[in-house]
Amino acid sequence: AQSVTQLDSHVSVSEGTPVLLRCNYSSSYSPSLFWYVQHPNKGLQLLLKYTSAATLVKGINGFEAEFKKSETSFHLTKPSAHMSDAAEYFCVVSERGFQKLVFGTGTRLLVSP
């Protein structure tokens, strides 16, 4: 069975400082991994995805994530936070070739001025 663990329920940063959202995954197969963002009362927007190509994945809005198989991690980073980044972030795993997405519990990112 596949699962993801998001290690922090809340992360607080100041505007202009780096962002790190941590995610560990568990999968019996070669996984596909994703990060989605959800703003209040909105649906989910895909930030980036890993599907076995380059281990460093660049996404939208300056976010990137690095797939580390030895650590079973897929942490999300951004060099400089903006106020508009405040939202809920979900780490997601799926079995390659299948549509079913398995979501983590989410990390709420708070950005202060």
Binding site: S32, Y36, N41, K42, G43, L44, Q45, L46, K49, T51, F90, S94, R96, G97, F98, Q99, K100, L101, V102, F103, G104, T105, G106
Partner: protein, 113 residues
Amino acid sequence: DTGVTQSPTHLIKTRGQQVTLRCSPISGHKSVSWYQQVLGQGPQFIFQYYEKEERGRGNFPDRFSARQFPNYSSELNVNALLLGDSALYLCASSLRDGNQPQHFGDGTRLSIL
């Protein structure tokens, strides 16, 4: 391009009633998936349909059913509503089956009294 559209945006029902939620995928997308997001949790996979056939089902009771129409739109039906069915119901569409990026609608907020 119009994104994934869901209707209604909000719905209030009482226990024991039945509800139908609707989803129109992005034009050209043939796969539709449904997710349930209970407040404070990550979305849980309910169903996936591709070319009008059920391709995946999550761990939900038989009170939950869905179908996909020839124009690739989809309906999610829930019978005998329980208080625990209160949630945000999200629809996602993708071009094809398999490892395709999924695009989410803004969801239907269902409240059970």
